[in-house]
Amino acid sequence: MSVIGLAVAALLFGVGTYLILQRLLSRVIIGLGLVSHGANLLIMLSGGAAGRPPVLADGASPVGVSDPLPQAMVLTAIVITFGVTAFLLALALRSWRLTGSDAVEDDIEDRRIARETVTVDEPLIDRGMHEEGLGL
């Protein structure tokens, strides 16, 4: 594999990972796009060096022909990423319409735990029973 190609893939993965960890949905989507580009590039690189077009005409020798299989795989992967990104954008739009913001909200469970930790110096008996309990 070419070192420059690998470095580019690594860069795409690094930037993509950073963006996926952001709070804003639009950045997450761009990050996912970059990560999949990195993965696609890796597949291309796994096919070896570039060569002549893989068309086997009469009498043509197969030596020095580039490997067509990774190209076919990358095409499929690109189409899939395209579809999923379109879906994500639609989801982000709906999320923005519903909540009025582009940020991913806190998990309800996380909020509950956060609330519990804030009130930790209150008497233990007051806490918990109204939140938790078996409904008995």
Binding site: S36, M73, R94, L98, T99, E105, G133, L134, G135
Partner: protein, 488 residues
């Protein structure tokens, strides 16, 4: 060329297209959906019988011989899992028609459901690493769309987590494919099984570990499970039930397939056993902390995955046979439990434990449906869960792996505890004012699933024998590679 193999994938896809063509005519949509899923079930049974009669059934698409073309394979293992999955898909479709059909909430539902069916069939039947990726994506994109059937702010958030985590896993999957192709020059599973043996062991182990991580995310293994309990409970019941029963189990299926076929090992794998133990424990502890029926059940999915990986970790015929039996039992029981959870929600308008109660008096039938499933999940005799756990424990003792056996038994007790929690809060106590009534169609579908679960227990011996034969095939990769590379 066996035409059943490709048609098990193509027929539901064609059906999905047809449901869009018939438009808002719901009856026609339902008939097409039922026909498509029924076809997959019949094909699965036929394939299982044929594979069980001799060698795995193989189809080379387009007539290109392996490893050049795309191969579809049905061996005993994939036949078993596909048959159980298709049966559940059919039962849950009945439930969905009864629940969602009344208000015609979403008339794209049937198309998405059929695409999900096709994706599951493709992931189970493919003999090609890249086609496996495509199968997963088909299955996942249908599941993304199904999760958003009803969208409020909570569903959007949960779907986001689910979609983003799965997309990251898919990107990693592509990376694994790239590295595998770079190391071996093939993506055909049978060809890989042969060629990976000649690859440097360090590279091979790295690939094996990477695959475990990728499919571990899909199967919700510890520590990669966090997306599951968050996203599953927000969807409508039929959707959650089918996700709970099938999607993670497809991940487990692929873990078992790749670890046994591509990275054969002698003797138990300590890594897998540690992961199995941690998955069981963390899952069940999460379940105990919850106070909503569907959330409790979602954490149990994670916990139960641990048992299947435990069987794989032993890497013996008996261990793998126990894992296969466990998958069969678990798909049915878990789907059924979520359907019962949906009945509780239909009656009370909620699944929160402190706002339900007294269902034993107001709806004894729902209680009667819950009880055998809960007992089976916890592994109480004479239900199917007992047989599955007994087989795992016996093999663990025989191999002298006391720690994992102890953990699995303790987790079984804690499972029973959290089932008791649901029972005492929802079925005992003062009857609540009913918010609605579960329709006969919903109850009928749940009864069918419970009956199937009981018949897994009744037919334990034949199913265990079949699992043993499937496990023998898995530990002897030559069965698979010869069938794919030799003939066709």
């Amino acid at each position: 060329m066996n035409w059943l193999l490709p048609s098990a994938i193509a027929v539901p896809l064609l059906g999905a297209g047809l449901t869009v063509l018939v438009g808002p005519r719901l009856v026609a949509q339902r008939l097409i959906a039922a026909g498509g899923v029924l076809f997959v079930l019949v094909a699965a049974v036929a394939l299982l019988l044929e594979a069980d009669g001799g060698s795995p059934v193989v189809a080379q698409l387009g007539g290109w011989p392996a490893p050049a073309g795309i191969t579809l394979v049905a061996d005993r293992f994939s036949g078993i899992v596909l048959t159980v999955s298709a049966a559940m898909l059919l039962a849950v479709l009945g439930y969905a028609v009864a629940q969602l059909g009344r208000d015609a909430l979403d008339w794209w539902f049937h198309a998405k459901y059929l695409i999900l069916t096709a994706g599951i069939a493709m992931a189970l039947l493919t003999g090609d690493l890249f086609n496996l990726f495509v199968g997963f994506e088909v299955m996942l994109i249908a599941s993304y769309a199904l999760l958003t059937v009803k969208t409020g702010p909570t569903q959007i958030r949960a779907t986001m987590t689910y979609v983003v985590v799965n997309l990251v896993a898919s990107a990693l999957f592509l990376v694994v494919i790239a590295f595998t192709y770079g190391a071996t020059g093939t993506v055909n599973l049978a060809d890989l099984a042969v060629r990976l043996q000649e690859v440097d062991p360090t590279v091979r182990d790295t690939l094996g570990l990477l695959m475990l991580v990728v499919f571990g995310i899909k199967a919700a293994l510890f520590p990669l499970f966090m997306w599951l309990p968050d996203s599953y409970p927000t969807a409508p019941t039929p959707v959650t039930a089918i996700f709970a029963g099938l999607l993670t189990k497809v991940g487990v299926f692929v873990i078992i397939r790749t670890q046994t076929l591509l990275f054969p090992n002698d003797g138990p794998s300590t890594l897998l056993l540690v992961v199995a133990g941690a998955t069981m424990t963390v899952g069940v502890l999460g379940a105990i902390a919850q106070n909503d029926v569907k959330r409790i059940l979602s954490f149990h999915i994670v916990s139960q995955i641990g048992y299947m990986i435990m069987g794989l970790g032993f890497l013996t015929v008996a261990g793998l046979a126990a894992a296969i039996f466990y998958i069969t039992h678990h798909i049915v029981v878990k789907t059924g439990l979520f359907l019962v959870g949906g009945l509780v929600e239909a009656e009370h308008g909620t699944g929160a434990l402190n706002r339900t109660g007294g269902l034993l008096h107001s709806r004894p039938l729902v209680a009667a449906l819950f009880l055998p499933l809960a007992m089976s999940l916890a592994g109480i005799p004479p239900f199917s869960g007992f047989v599955a756990k007994l087989a795992l424990v016996q093999e663990g003792v025989a191999l002298g792996r006391g720690l994992i056996v102890g953990v699995s038994l303790a987790v079984g007790l804690l499972t029973l505890f959290s089932m008791t929690k649901i029972w005492s809060a929802t079925f005992w106590g003062v009857p609540m004012e009913p918010a609605g009534r579960a329709g006969p169609g919903m109850i009928g579908a749940t009864v069918a699933v419970v009956a199937l679960s009981l018949s897994v227990a009744l037919l334990a011996q034949p199913i265990a024998d079949l699992s043993t034969r499937a496990a023998t095939d898995l530990l002897n990769p030559a069965t698979y590679t010869d069938a794919v590379l030799g003939g066709g």
